[in-house]
């Protein structure tokens, strides 16, 4: 059984990553915070008695399911909004974000130009990730970002191992194509083109 301290340490280690992952999926920072908070509460309520080693996979499963619930509610909400209002869609959240409020946890000693290039690269990657189909993004995040194995990823996604591999492969390929389109081919991503035919 995980102790309160262990749960706290675990959540502290994953909360920001979970927030980012959710934000890429739902594209709404406020909703992402709500989803992450719900997932944390559900983990504590339903799986508090589970051992520490199982928490990462359980948390990811809860997080993905909570995101799906959010999408289902959004579909219903958007349906009513479309029916009864001429104004539709959710507003962009960019106006609320003040760049000056950003906390730099790590003190980056790189040159300003390198920092700018890095932040632009990250922005491109974020956009590319957001533009992926939901299943491919989910497979990529679980398999590579959360470093889960194929079986664990398949269990969380509710699909076969083969599907996970396919989704991952397509996700990486799509990311490579998108990044190359944005001029990041110099990073050695062209090798994927050679094996493009193998993916079809």
């Amino acid at each position: 059984m995980a102790t309160a301290r262990e749960l706290s340490d675990f959540l502290e280690a994953v909360e920001r990553r979970a927030f980012r992952q959710t934000a890429y999926a739902v594209r709404d920072d406020h909703a992402s915070l709500d989803i992450v908070q719900d997932a944390m509460m559900k983990l504590a309520e339903k799986y508090g008695e589970k051992p520490m080693a199982e928490l990462p996979m359980l948390f990811q499963r809860i997080l993905q399911n909570t995101m799906r619930d959010y999408w289902r509610r959004q579909k219903v909400r958007n349906l009513w909004t479309t029916l009864f209002s001429s104004f539709s869609g959710s507003a962009e959240d960019g106006e609320d974000r003040d760049p000056l409020e950003t906390i730099d946890v790590q003190d980056d000693s790189d040159e300003p130009s390198a920092q700018l290039e890095r932040s632009q690269t990250i922005k491109l990657i974020e956009n590319a990730l957001q533009n992926l189909p939901a299943r491919q993004r989910e497979a990529f995040v679980l398999r590579y970002w959360e470093e889960m194995d194929v079986a664990e990823t398949a269990k969380i996604m509710g699909c076969s191992d083969g599907s996970v591999k396919t989704h991952c492969s397509r996700a990486v390929h799509a990311l490579a194509m998108e990044l190359k389109k944005q001029g990041l081919g110099k990073l050695g991503l062209l090798e994927l083109e050679v094996s493009e035919q193998g993916l079809e």
Binding site: L33, V105, E126, G198
Partner: protein
């Protein structure tokens, strides 16, 4: 299997392995950047995440404290499990309650006591008028109009 076929299979296997490695390299490149960027959040976001974490930890701590306090109490174990079931299956629980209320209402209607004492035997025997009077249809009409 002939030598050229062996070579072809080996080449295919090597290419496949190379593809997987390149795929993994790109994935790790992307996730390393994402990991680094994930630490950069606004003050408001960091505060909310911290608060959410605190609530979850508090919830776990209180659940574990309750478990220790009640020990092997069967009733409290049963109660907490029922509570959890209801919390996790809200729709079914609401439906069950609604059906139970409907059945209770129907049962009440079915077995309710007939309060129309005027038609009961006890009323007839205790009444000042003879029973034959109540058999007269004209008297029945007068009785209803008088009541109105």
């Amino acid at each position: 299997m002939s030598a050229p076929e062996n070579n072809t299979n080996e080449i295919d296997s090597n290419m496949s392995e190379a593809h997987v490695q390149t795929e993994a390299q790109l994935a790790h490149f992307v996730t390393d950047l994402l990991d680094e960027h994930a630490q950069h959040v606004t003050a408001v976001t960091a505060k909310r995440l911290s608060a959410a974490r605190g609530l979850a930890v508090e919830k776990l701590a209180s659940q574990q404290a309750q478990t220790i306090h009640h020990g092997g109490n069967v009733l409290s174990w049963f109660g907490s499990n029922v509570e959890q079931y209801i919390a996790h299956h809200r729709t079914i629980s609401v439906a069950v309650v609604f059906v139970a209320m409907l059945l209770a209402f129907l049962a009440t209607q079915q077995f309710s006591v007939n309060t129309n004492l005027e038609n009961s035997d006890a009323f007839l025997l205790a009444s000042d008028l003879p029973p034959e009077a109540y058999a007269d249809k004209g008297f029945d009409t007068w009785l209803v109009s008088k009541r109105d």
